[in-house]
């Protein structure tokens, strides 16, 4: 399978086989070679500020518990009891010093140690080596500007190196003002009947769809005229390692079209340029994807989300809404409302995306439809490395250059036996 997969992605000619969106064997290989290997987003630090706070999520299909232990250290473990493999914690979030399995009562401290085994003296004759049966930890955990990531692969490069030149663009979303961002309470979680790569590539580089998919919402006042206007500025940027961002010119409005938000953005713009440097005076980031499945968006709604894979044709979306920590209450409320009305399961933009991604996945079940590759050739040959942007940039604002880099990275990882073969 490994050798075969690279043939399914022809980046040079912009052709991608539909098999990678529907076939179970390819999906299983993704779980091993993408999700058990890459740095994956877990949560924002502001969700677990106090010792004992935890957040329950998953990495690929593996359930994972993210905790701040008694010493305040971030940790993440498989949310799985070592005895019979029962799911350990069934809550979405909260605060706990320890977690007790519902099956036989094995108890783990929030640093992962197995501290309680009922009848350990009588039934195990004190022979159970508790030290060896703690919760399975991730191989590496780290955070960047409050964004907590982890990987199951000890050989993965450190987080900063993995993110590479994408860090500046992450700053431009999440660290624009003093204190960075925090999330609005609660998450949107829902299931989309599509392959996880379709939303990931959409946020990575698909400015093109906005002018048609979302025209109804733009025309009825939900999204400003973002991207539908004729302003030619903007580009798709690939920052390396499969990460992508879309940008517009700094003079463009790239924010939820609420008066308080627009006034706030105008006011803080000089501060952003001062904080992030001249690049911030030249461009505004719009959307992006940290490979493989962490995406973010700034105009229309301020959201970041994880596309959790749940089978070749099923994706569970976990979407947060974020605000600058320094933003005043009226701006926060306007951004919260944009997050509800424009994106999320009832969002007037996002509804239409999901319907398209579902059909893009489902028609691929046909064996004949699957023989015909998908077209990713937009902007082929019209991209170049930009020294100032520190990224491969498309010449025109609409291009599939980012999607090509996304799938190129995908193919590299799918073919490689180990991290050393990739770097």
């Amino acid at each position: 399978m490994a050798d075969d997969v690279t043939r399914l992605v022809d980046v040079e000619h912009g052709r991608i086989s539909r098999r990678i969106f529907v076939e179970r064997e390819i999906y299983e290989q993704e779980l091993e070679r993408i999700f058990a290997r890459c740095w994956l987003f877990l949560c924002h630090e502001c969700q677990i500020p106090r010792p004992g706070d935890f957040f329950s999520t998953s990495m690929g299909e593996d359930p994972v518990l993210v905790v701040r232990d008694g010493q305040g250290q971030l940790r993440a473990f498989l949310n799985v009891c070592r005895h019979r493999g029962n799911r350990l914690c069934r809550a979405d979030s909260g605060n706990a010093e320890s977690f007790t399995c519902a099956y036989h009562g094995w108890t783990y401290r929030n640093d992962g140690r197995l501290v309680g085994v009922p009848f350990i003296k009588e039934a195990y004759y004190n022979a159970l080596e508790r030290d060896r049966w703690g919760l399975v930890p991730v191989a590496q955990i780290d955070s960047y500007k409050g964004l907590v990531f982890a990987t199951f692969d000890a050989d993965a490069p450190p987080l900063r190196e993995y993110l590479g030149e994408m860090t500046w663009y992450l700053d431009a979303f999440f660290d624009r003002t003093e204190g960075g961002i925090e999330v609005v309470g609660g998450l949107h979680k829902w299931v989309m009947p599509c392959n996880w790569k379709l939303p990931a590539e959409n946020f990575a580089g698909d400015g093109y769809h906005v002018t048609w998919s979302h025209l109804s919402a733009v025309r009825t006042g939900f999204g400003g005229d973002f991207r539908v206007g004729t302003d030619p500025t903007g580009a798709a940027l690939s920052t390396g390692n499969g990460h992508s961002v879309m940008i517009v010119g700094a003079h463009m409005i790239a924010d939820p079209p609420a008066p308080e938000v627009l006034a706030y953005e105008e006011k803080i713009f000089p501060e952003i340029v001062k904080r992030l440097g001249p690049r911030a005076g030249r461009l505004k980031p719009v959307a992006g994807t940290v490979f493989p499945n962490f995406s973010m968006l700034k105009p229309t709604s301020r959201t970041f989300r994880v596309w959790h894979p749940r089978g070749p044709d099923k994706t569970e979306v976990w979407a947060w809404v974020y605000v600058d920590k320094a933003a005043p209450p009226d701006v926060r409320e306007a951004i919260r409302l944009a997050g509800v009305r424009v994106f999320g399961p009832a969002g007037v933009f996002e509804q239409d995306d999901m319907d398209n991604w579902q059909q893009c996945t489902q028609t691929g079940r046909g064996v004949v439809a699957r023989r015909y590759p998908l077209n990713y050739e937009m902007g082929l040959g019209h991209e170049r490395y930009d020294d100032q942007l520190k990224a491969s940039a498309s010449d025109y604002r609409f291009s599939e250059s980012n999607q090509r880099r996304f799938y190129q990275r995908w193919a590299q990882l799918m073919a490689a036996e180990k991290w050393a073969d990739i770097r």
Binding site: E97, T107, K189
Partner: protein, 178 residues
């Protein structure tokens, strides 16, 4: 509260459900007051900050919360509900092209006095079946708490709080009204 009033409220809610199922959204919108807040919460399971007790022994830890200033599934004014309807009218709202076929079942209606003499607090449960295109189908099940206000001799909905019982929503979207 008397049976006549209950029947009156039932008639109002059943007609409202029929307007939705017949996709008469502009007439449906007229059932709301201009100051309505139309709000739908989701659910999550959270453990509040710990006591010294072991998690599993502490019964009060499990909470299903809906918090008003958090993310909601819907948080609408009459204006944004109107905007959603206008979007459907463009003919380019792809999630509703082809349109959903819905059946709104409204049950467990209880009527209580409201905060003012012209208002009632009305509780009800809903089960909405949605099918679309060839074989798509979803169930939306939850509770409503309405404030009905008497305006010019007719009932209007002055506040609607909806709780959708799923945590991870299983329908791919919420493109219909409740």
């Amino acid at each position: 509260m008397g049976d006549d009033l209950l029947r009156d409220v039932e008639r109002f809610l059943y007609r409202e459900a029929r307007l939705l199922d017949e996709r008469r959204f502009h007439e449906w919108l007229e059932l709301f007051t201009d100051d309505v807040r139309y709000w739908m919460a989701g659910r999550s399971t959270r453990y509040p900050p710990s006591s010294q007790a072991i998690t599993v022994l502490d019964r009060d830890r499990r909470q299903a919360l809906e918090v008003e200033d958090e993310l909601a599934i819907l948080d609408e004014t009459k204006g944004t509900l109107g905007g959603r309807i206008a979007r459907l009218d463009t003919g380019m709202a792809w999630a509703e092209d082809p349109p959903s076929r819905t059946r709104h079942l409204v049950t467990n209606i209880e009527v209580e006095p409201g905060d003012t003499p012209s208002e009632l607090t009305v509780y009800s449960n809903f089960l909405v079946y949605r099918t679309r295109a060839e074989s798509e189908q979803d169930l939306y099940v939850g509770a409503r708490q309405d404030v009905l206000r008497r305006v010019d001799g007719a009932w209007k909905i002055a506040r609607r709080k909806l709780v959708l019982d799923q945590n991870v929503l299983l329908p791919k979207n919420v493109s219909i009204f409740f």
